[in-house]
Symmetry: C2
Subunit: 131 residues, 2 copies
């Protein structure tokens, strides 16, 4: 029952994000990668994967795509030569800012759907899942 409603909410939210970003060729998952890398330049791939609950293996392909589009860069870390330090390119940072602006519409859609106070309540209740 809880699983059902949480899944329904997740599907609705992701569909609304996709609709909002229509035509920009950015999935919700790609957005989340850009956002976390933007906020934490130098982060290693394994850290991003952990933070986003994405498989390490899956992230590789996502980064391949983002790198090919010139949005994200990988550079060998000096301290630990196994790992890649990730950073947004200038274009990546520009796109991210644009996406965040567009997503304000989604944010409003969500609050409309949930009712005014529920967003913060929801974040509080689900906090145990955000680690």
């Amino acid at each position: 029952m809880v699983g059902y409603v949480v899944r329904r909410a997740k599907v609705w939210i992701f569909q609304d994000v996709r609709r909002t970003l229509k035509g920009l060729d950015v999935t919700p998952a790609q957005f989340s990668v850009m956002k976390i890398v933007g906020a934490n330049p130098g982060l290693a791939q394994a850290r991003v994967a952990e933070a986003l609950f994405i498989e390490r293996a899956r992230l590789v392909q996502m980064l391949d795509r983002l790198e090919a589009r010139g949005l994200i860069g990988r550079t060998r870390s000096a301290r630990d030569r196994r790992s890649h330090a990730l950073h947004l390119t200038e274009e990546g940072a520009r796109l991210l800012a644009h996406l965040e602006q567009l997503l304000e519409v989604h944010e409003r859609n969500l609050v409309t759907r949930l009712g005014p106070k529920s967003k913060s309540e929801l974040l509080r209740i689900l906090a145990p899942f955000a680690r």
Copy 2:
């Protein structure tokens, strides 16, 4: 931010359900189909798809599998010969009862994770997504 935490919760819940049902070869989605059909015998495929937010096309393959395993039956509806009336077989009903019993463990895991009162709050807040 909301999308992030809702997805994390969804992933955790589904993983926990999979863990709980380990070895029985039943996915969370299959369980939900069996449950809704069990509670509403005679339901048409399109209704199930709507209720569960699953694509009509996807449901076809899920039902093929469940039918092949002898858990669910499809019979042509007398009233509308386009549609299939779905029902659990005896074995399907037996398995469903077993699954529901097993999932009480998951239910307890979830409440432990969320804290005691949060489950009902969560259901109330997310009610707009349950239609």
